[in-house]
């Protein structure tokens, strides 16, 4: 593994830790009734968003999924308005109209989480087409799931991206389950990245719990996309730390398998890398404390935020 710049490592750790604490606090806020509806947690998968986005430029796009908090935070969304959106408050990224499954930010070039599995994949291809048409140099990173690769539209989208050499990187987060259905019951290929061959694009599989490995693996795909050489499929192996959503205990996850993956925790992996690079434990504690304060502030911000106005909503919809 090549040496990684300490600053970058610290930034990646900070982001991973931010996602971790954001999710843990969101669970707590769900339990007290401040968050309703579906809440799909990114716990255990933090390294993918962190590693995949670390090498992007601010103008690059991402397309997210129903399990999208980590993507948004890594792309620079502020925890406060993120948490406020989960609360359904007026100060949230979507004014409380979208919620957890629909976080999006035009300014931060997050084209949106999605409640429909696989629906974001062709949208990412379309964004790449728009970039190409206006002669832009931005890259689109499409986060997609193992489940999405069973959907017809996933195949259609990858094929089109390939035949037109579009600037997109498909980051497939293989957490090995679609709700309770194991990937072995949905696919007969050993690695989903093998499917890339069917579209004539490179496909690789990487340890999705190691942000540095993901970051390294993304270098060539991002370069390739930006250079107009076409898309790449990057499969990141990972595992959820719990059920499909906050109210699913996930009892079907084989305990030994879950334990194995928890022992290879993405936040711990980054911490170990920091220590191995000579960053003192005290510095890491400082980062942890500052993340703690940020997330505490985010929860307070959400709690103190107003509900959206029903009158404004009714005025808005009367035009629809």
């Amino acid at each position: 593994m090549p040496d990684v710049d300490i600053d970058l490592l610290e930034r990646m750790y900070t982001t991973a830790r931010t996602i971790r604490r954001f999710e843990e606090r969101a669970v707590e806020q769900y339990r007290v009734g401040n968050i309703r509806g579906y809440l799909h947690l990114y716990l255990g998968e933090e390294a993918i968003a962190v590693g995949a986005i670390a090498g992007l430029e601010p103008d690059d796009y991402i397309v997210s999924t129903h399990r999208g908090h980590g993507h948004a935070l890594a792309k620079g969304h502020e925890p406060g308005p993120m948490m406020a959106e989960l609360f359904g408050r007026a100060t949230g990224y979507c004014g409380g109209r979208g919620g957890s499954m629909h976080v999006a930010s035009g300014a931060l070039r997050n084209l949106g989480a999605n409640g429909i599995v696989a629906a974001g994949v062709p949208i990412a291809v379309g964004a790449a087409m728009a970039v190409r048409q206006r002669g832009g140099r931005e890259v689109v990173v499409d986060f997609c799931s193992d489940g999405s690769s069973a959907n017809g539209v996933w195949h259609e989208a990858l094929n089109m991206a390939s035949i037109w050499d579009l600037p997109v990187v498909f980051v497939l987060e293989n957490n090995q389950f679609a709700v309770s259905t194991p990937i072995s019951a949905s696919a007969r290929v050993a690695r989903l990245s093998e499917r890339a061959a069917a579209y004539g694009m490179p496909g690789i599989t990487v340890d999705g719990n190691d942000a540095v490995a993901v970051h390294e693996a993304m270098r060539e795909p991002i370069r390739r996309a930006r250079a107009g050489e076409g898309p790449t499929l990057v499969e990141c192996m990972t595992y959820r730390h719990g059920g499909h959503h906050v109210n699913d205990p996930g009892l079907y996850l084989p305990p030994d398998e879950l334990q194995r993956w928890k022992a290879h925790d993405p936040v711990d992996v980054l911490r170990a890398r920091l220590l191995a690079s000579g960053v003192p434990a005290g510095r890491i504690a400082e980062i942890d404390a500052s993340v703690e304060a940020t997330i505490e502030e985010a929860v307070r911000f959400a709690e103190a935020s107003p509900q959206p106005s029903v009158e404004d909503f009714l005025a808005e919809v009367s035009a629809l």
Binding site: H102, N114, N151, T181, F313
Partner: protein
């Protein structure tokens, strides 16, 4: 009679039909060991095995199409879509294939397919998991559309749907699964196309289906306390639509309010209003009035979500207005 939940009634119907006819099988996402998101298929895989209770990948267009093919070739598939919103991924198979096969083949083949799915708002599931899309399917000749509001109807109508020789879109409501009601112990099949007067009354006819029906019954109770007698009619199936029962009721009451959760524009409520206006204009004492959802995607925020679909108070106020319009206070 036994008092059981809507979801249990659906499960009983599936089980009894699978026992009765070995051509019947269930297919969908997470319906096996997991028993489905709303536990409707709970335990069926243990009894019937993975050959007749089949878990699929996330391939909606594929497994709905599989259902069409299996139905044409002699099986009786019950395909489950977790949310009606996801049925949109399979619209070609539903609209261009299943609905038209009997006609296009000159009657050589037919598609005894049931698509079980659920819709509706009320759980803060936001714009892509809360829609009321029945009008889309009502618009397609060749499809039947069933929307039960009670456990007894759910059971009896699902049995009829499975026995039907043509494609049926069977739409449940996420807020109904845990509701309870009396269900006959003996076999009871509720025929498609027969409305049910859920509450008799004299002053005004109130038509609604699915979860909106339960809101209308509560509204009727409140209005009764004010001396307004509301007849609540549940068509139960939107295709075929038992317009005769609705017209007969309107001929007695002289007034019609139609309530639907779906957006007002282009909805089934408008269709029923038009049918009644054409057939019973002479009996109407005033315009037919709709209570309907706003023309908006369903918002995530709870207060906005509630503001986007009719609440009991909206139904009460509308009915009051309609009745008051005929007999202005002296």
């Amino acid at each position: 009679m036994s008092r059981i939940k809507y979801r249990q009634a659906l499960r009983d119907a599936l089980r009894e039909e699978m026992l009765r006819d070995e051509r019947v099988f269930c297919i969908g996402e997470g319906i096996g060991e997991r028993g489905g998101s709303y536990k409707v298929t709970d335990g069926l895989i243990g009894e019937f095995g993975p050959g007749r209770v089949i878990d699929t990948p996330l391939s909606e267009a594929g497994f709905v199409g599989l259902g069409v093919g299996a139905a044409i070739a002699g099986s009786r598939p019950v395909v489950e879509l977790l949310f009606i919103d996801f049925l949109l991924l399979a619209m070609d198979q539903v609209v261009n294939q299943a609905a038209k096969y009997r006609f296009m083949s000159g009657g050589q083949g037919h598609v005894p397919l049931v698509i079980r799915t659920q819709g509706g708002a009320g759980n803060s599931l936001a714009a892509q998991h809360s829609q009321s899309l029945e009008a889309m399917f009502v618009q397609v000749p060749g499809l039947k559309v069933v929307m039960p509001s009670t456990p007894a109807d759910a059971k009896g109508l699902l049995k009829a749907a499975i026995r039907d020789d043509d494609p049926v879109v069977f739409i449940e409501h996420k807020l109904l699964y845990m509701t309870e009601g009396d269900v006959p112990d003996e076999e009871s099949v509720v025929p498609l196309g027969v409305a049910d007067v859920k509450r008799p009354g004299d002053d005004v006819t109130l038509v609604a289906w699915s979860h909106m029906l339960t809101k209308c019954l509560t509204a009727a109770e409140e209005l009764a306390a004010e001396g307004i007698s509301v007849e609540v009619v549940d068509p139960r199936t939107l295709v075929p639509l038992d317009i005769a029962t609705i017209v007969a009721s309107v001929r007695r009451t002289g007034r019609l309010v139609v309530a639907q959760e779906a957006p007002r524009r282009g909805g089934v409520a408008g269709e029923i209003a038009a049918e009644v206006s054409e057939r019973a204009w002479d009996a109407l004492r005033g315009p037919v009035v709709r209570v309907a959802g706003r023309n908006t995607p369903i918002p995530f925020n709870l207060a906005l979500e509630q503001a986007s679909i009719p609440q009991i108070a909206d139904i009460v106020a509308t009915v009051r207005g309609v009745v008051g319009a005929r007999t202005p206070v002296a």
